[in-house]
């Protein structure tokens, strides 16, 4: 039996503790107490956890299968849009125009009825199905064509980048029926609970933590199964794997689709906490940033990208508050440093010392 590093278990414990203690320190502690965590920070941490889940999904295909996806922002945003549509439907007649049947932006565009894909989105099960299906289907169709034509390496990265860019441009158009460049916002409540209340925000935080833990568990099961071995074999010697009799395209397709669904779920949890989803979430730069988190944390280990995402996003929050104009330089420097000196990320440094 192979042995797994201690850090793997430590991270799990840390995540469980974080998920439990943060709501307690927000809801159960007086506001003037030293350990009190502001609601703003709870939501901020919740968003970090969503980013960590997104990073995990990228690592599953990049670190274990060798597919460098520069388009996972698109899957994240699609899951987010599906959730956003549900939230917009919950506004009812409390919108600016007070129209109980149509979202504000459609009233503004003089539409008489909502497009077909808004049908049933006021029901959560329908929205949940869309959260899984929208990114999953896009990834499946995209992967079907890309992997079957054996597009590999840099070329694949470029077309994933093109995919998210094209999708962004499409979503910018008002005619698409997703609110154009303003996107979907002004959310009021979820499942009948106000999004502004402390309790709901803590519940969303816990949901993000649980989703991350579940995603982590499932990814761990996958990479430790024989299918995980096959994935690594494909990453290291693709044609050899094919000669052993594995259908490489199928493995890529299913891993890619699963990874996209994970990203979509991360997006769906992110949107109610961020309060808005718009096409800029699909900007190519966003997807590249995710890759930076994974590279910095250490790809090919499931805990690496989670730590990378949390670290970089914490640094981003701190930097954009302290030195707003230098953040992009810092991000660039991080990427250069991690490429030059940390080929296996921060976690690689850690493992080398341990070994």
């Amino acid at each position: 039996m192979p042995t797994y590093p201690l850090i793997d278990r430590l991270l799990l414990i840390a995540l469980v503790l974080l998920t439990i203690t943060v709501p307690i320190l927000n809801l159960g502690v007086n506001a003037d107490h030293a350990l009190y965590i502001e609601t703003y920070n709870v939501t901020l941490l919740g968003k970090y956890l969503c980013f960590a889940l997104l990073a995990l999904s990228v690592d599953l295909v990049w670190g274990y299968l060798g597919i460098l996806s520069l388009g996972h922002g698109a899957f994240f945003a699609l899951g987010g849009y599906a959730m956003g549509m549900y939230l917009v439907r919950q506004i009812g007649d409390r919108g600016v125009y007070g129209n109980p049947d149509l979202p504000d932006f459609m009233v503004f565009l003089n539409w008489q009825e909502a497009p077909w894909f808004w049908t049933g989105m006021e029901h959560f099960p329908v929205a949940l199905t869309a959260i899984v299906l929208a990114p999953g289907l896009l990834a499946f169709v995209f992967g079907w064509f890309a992997f079957r034509s054996r597009v590999n390496g840099v070329y694949l990265s470029i077309i994933t980048q093109a995919m998210t860019f094209a999708l962004m441009l499409a979503f910018f158009r008002n005619e698409m029926g997703f609110g154009g460049n303003n996107g979907l916002t002004d959310f009021k409540d979820i499942w009948g609970f106000s999004l502004q209340s402390n309790e709901t925000r803590n519940a969303l935080f816990v949901a993000s933590g649980v989703a991350l833990l579940l995603g982590y568990f499932i990814c761990q099961k996958i990479v430790r199964s024989r299918a995980g071995l096959v994935a690594q074999a494909i990453r290291d010697a693709e044609s050899r794997t094919r000669f052993i009799g594995f259908n490489v395209e199928n493995y890529k397709l299913w891993f890619f689709t699963f990874s996209a669904i994970l990203a979509g779920i991360a997006g769906a949890l992110y949107v109610p906490q961020a309060g808005i989803i718009n096409p800029s979430q699909m900007a190519p730069l966003g997807s590249i940033e995710v890759v930076v988190w994974v590279a910095l944390g250490g790809r090919g280990s499931l805990y690496g990208p989670i730590i990378g995402a949390l670290l970089v996003n914490y640094a981003k929050s701190w930097f954009t508050a302290a030195f707003p104009e230098y953040w992009l330089f810092a991000l660039g420097a991080l990427f250069v440093i991690s490429t030059l000196y940390l080929p296996n990320g921060v976690m690689g440094l850690f493992n080398r010392k341990a070994a």
Partner: protein, 275 residues
């Protein structure tokens, strides 16, 4: 329509060919010949890499394939394993499996294993995992996601590891093996597929004399149960293992026979020595 489908439509002997499943049917090896290549030609940009080649391999035989650079040895291997599709000719495995209808993965499952010139083992995986992946088992995504090794499979892995002399290195990462050990591991990976036909490309290139001897013994012990075709440049090695030798020249068979026959063959002497 793709090329292979067109070829299938034009074949007069296969009017109802679609009725027989391509893979999964029992391989018929009642004839003593395991592989037939007949009138095979292939050209790349006008260069005839294989020119009207006829080549037959008997069951259980250890055959050596020699020839100068560009004689078509690797292209021939590529055709058998489905990497290259020939322009004309037929390639039949056993009596009833048309290899031209199958893709690389299907050919591997049908029982043809190939070892490449450069050892390509999965460097980041352990020796055990390398053998596990090569095992003859269902290869679908869903199966590999949940299947666990049973004791018979673990036994098989250990048995083959001892055949190739790597039993005490099962948990070692394959990247840390020596060159010779990697070559043996790769042969072991081929054996895990329980192949009927083994294609081995330059097994002793870069090996020490000791490793070469051990490889020769390994190949000889495998023949009989398996049919083996070895491509090799090292004449000394060929002389030490082979029963039959085929000489390729300019994409076609120049001579065939025992090593002694080959050395006395006038055609071979003319091509090789310019006499």
């Amino acid at each position: 329509m793709n090329v292979s489908a067109q070829r299938g439509l034009l074949r007069r002997d296969k009017v109802f060919g679609f009725l027989t499943p391509a893979v999964g049917q029992q391989l018929d090896t009642t004839h003593s010949t395991l592989l037939y290549m007949e009138n095979v030609s292939v050209s790349f940009d006008g260069f005839k890499a294989i020119d009207n080649l006829n080549f037959y391999v008997d069951k259980g035989e250890l055959r050596c394939l020699i020839g100068a650079n560009g004689a078509g040895k690797t292209t021939m291997m590529d055709i058998i394993t489905g990497k290259t599709k020939p322009d004309t000719g037929s390639v039949i495995f056993g009596k009833n499996v048309d290899l031209l209808d199958l893709n690389e993965a299907e050919i591997a499952i049908a029982g043809i294993g190939r070892k490449f010139q450069k050892p390509t083992v999965f460097e980041n995986l352990t020796v055990f995992a390398n053998l596990e992946l090569a095992m003859a088992d269902f290869k679908s995504v869903w199966w590999t996601l949940h299947s666990k090794l049973n004791s018979a499979q673990v036994d098989q892995i250990e048995h083959i590891a001892s055949t190739i002399g790597l039993l005490d290195m099962l948990n070692k990462q394959a990247g840390y093996l020596s060159h010779g050990q990697k070559q043996w591991l790769e042969i072991g990976m081929l054996l895990m597929q329980r192949p009927l036909l083994l294609l081995i490309d330059e097994p002793v290139a870069g090996m020490t004399h000791q490793e070469m001897e051990k490889t020769g013994e390994l190949l000889q012990s495998l023949s009989g149960d398996h049919t083996i075709v070895v491509v090799e440049h090292d004449m000394e090695f060929v002389r030490s293992i082979a029963a039959r030798v085929t000489v390729l020249n300019q994409g076609t068979v120049l001579a065939e026979g025992s090593m002694a026959d080959i050395q006395n063959n006038d055609d071979v002497r003319r091509v090789y020595l310019g006499e």
